[in-house]
């Protein structure tokens, strides 16, 4: 932070947009928000890394243990399970929401009768909290709930199981509501991107005899490059952050079968009170997110240039 104060007089015409005068007010405009973020984000983040090198129960002061926590993580079966589940989550939740969202955006991009309603329908869950989403779907999964009733109606009783309480199905039963809520969101991002494509490009491709698949492959998708990058970052970051929906539906159970790194971190920290160990899990989440964060920042940096 090196905002200097100078009082050069303004020469508006030559220096478009920016005057060189840096009043104390301007310095405060930058410093105050920056300090607020420093107190609640930057400083805690640095502390988080430090805590991951300690053993700490929250009462007595943290004791430095070097990389012990990371060594323990390597041999922790629950952690490994949570890591695998997080990858499954990333692939299924991330992949399917991109495919579904993009597909829906393609189908609903052209203005025609009814499209507004369909878009609104798919978008509705986006405004709900994940806890609301979870409770809606809990009804669906209840014994004798909608899922079971539907299966009975088509004669597939044999498939019925306690969806959220069966370690075999719990993770997937949690992904489904998360997808239900995310697809509408991704669709809106792609709709905005599709709208920004110059229709003349499609027109030219059509003149050259390209069929609709070729136009999708060679016009639409390349034109969406910027949107794709944003969607990808959003999806990866969202996946790694996913917590609410799992916490509301299964708390990571049964037997850690739907445990993600985020829920394991939370229960280790605030239920087992192993704050040092939980910090190490948080650092792992951070490292996994790092590549995407950096990619996003590089893009942002180029834009600002």
């Amino acid at each position: 932070m090196t905002a200097t104060i100078s009082t050069t007089s303004v020469t508006p015409i030559r220096r478009r947009r920016r005057s060189a005068r840096l009043s104390p007010l301007l310095v405060a405009f930058v410093l105050v928000p920056f300090l607020v973020e420093s107190i609640w984000v930057f400083w805690p983040a640095l502390q988080g890394f430090w805590f991951s090198l300690t053993r700490w129960d929250g009462m007595s002061p943290p004791a430095f243990v070097g990389t012990d926590n990371y060594v323990e993580l390597a041999g922790d079966a629950t952690f490994r399970g949570a890591l695998v589940n997080t990858v499954i989550w990333l692939v299924l939740f991330g992949g399917l929401s991109v495919l579904g969202g993009f597909g829906m955006a393609l189908v609903l991009q052209k203005e025609r009768r009814g499209v507004g309603f369909y878009r609104a329908a798919l978008f509705t869950p986006v405004v709900f909290s994940l806890v609301v989403t979870a409770l809606v779907w809990r009804v669906f999964y209840q014994p004798d709930g909608i899922a079971d009733t539907l299966l009975r109606a088509v004669g597939l009783e044999s498939l019925i199981r306690p969806w959220l309480a069966d370690p075999q199905t719990a993770l997937y039963a949690v992904i489904l509501p998360a997808l239900w809520r995310q697809i509408g969101y991704v669709m809106v991002l792609f709709l905005a991107g599709l709208k920004a494509i110059d229709p003349a490009l499609h027109e030219a491709a059509r003149m050259d005899g390209a069929n609709s698949w070729q136009r999708l492959r060679h016009v639409t998708i390349p034109q969406l490059k910027g949107v794709n990058a944003v969607v990808l970052s959003v999806i990866v970051i969202d996946s790694l952050r996913s917590f609410d929906i799992v916490w509301s539906l299964t708390k990571g159970g049964p037997y850690h079968s739907s445990e993600l790194l985020s829920t394991y971190m939370y229960s280790t920290a605030f239920q087992s009170l192993r704050l040092g160990y939980a910090s190490a899990i948080a650092v792992v989440i951070f490292v996994l997110a790092l590549a995407v964060i950096l990619g996003y920042l590089v893009r942002a940096f180029r834009e600002e240039a």
């Binding site: 508006p12 928000p33 609640w40 983040a45 798919l122 509705t124 951070f286 600002e304």
Partner: protein, 273 residues
Amino acid sequence: MNKLRTGAFHTGMILLSLLWLGPVLWVVVMSTRSFDDIAAHGVGSLPRSFTLDTYRQAWTDGGELRALINSMVVTVPSVLLSLGLAAMAAFALSRFRIPGRRTILLLMLAGNLLPPQILLIPVAKFSELTGLYDTLWALIAVQVGFGLGFYTFVLHGFMRDLPGEIQEAATIDGAGTAQIFTKVMLPLTRPALAALGALSFTWIFNDLLWAITVLRTDDNMPVTPALLGLQGQFVSSWNVIAAGTVIAAVPTVAVFLRFQRHFVSGLALGAVK
């Protein structure tokens, strides 16, 4: 042929819409069923009763009223404060040659991209240290701090693209920095502010993780975490839980309907560039 395709399109989309709206409608309907009805016929059956007493139970016995007040006490100041601070930073960084402005901006954005998990323990400890733990102040503070980076980044992009002549004209007319900010820039930034306002309202209102990290007492919980408590309190009263769910969803749905255009353009803000 064309007619056939239109028919297939609408049939498919109506089925899909039903898949999306069905579960929601189901919960709304279930919130009006009586306990005996659900106990006798299960949550998967069609309604055979009608009552609104469930809403009274969720509202008063379940503490949803208290929780909604908490939510508003947190959400409204958080939105105003974070957008206000972000607008200040964005204004200074986009319209003036502040040394290192690009680094500052990206650093602030980077803070928002961090997985919150890395912050949870330090933030909980820091709020204990400052005596803010288990108060709504802590939640407001962390919501403002964590959201700032993203709002600043978006507003910066918006303000940077405003024509410079307006600011110059105001400067020639003798307006100071503060006046240019409040009288010229803020009004011009209104579309972006409205979009971010609608978005941040739902984000903060819907938050679970920060609330259960810095709050402990049930009476202090906003409506999103309180909904999980309600589930524990009314274990098998699915109708009351459904009523509580509807109550918790109404404010964000209302904001969305009121600011629909802003909301969607807000989501798209980052996407098209």
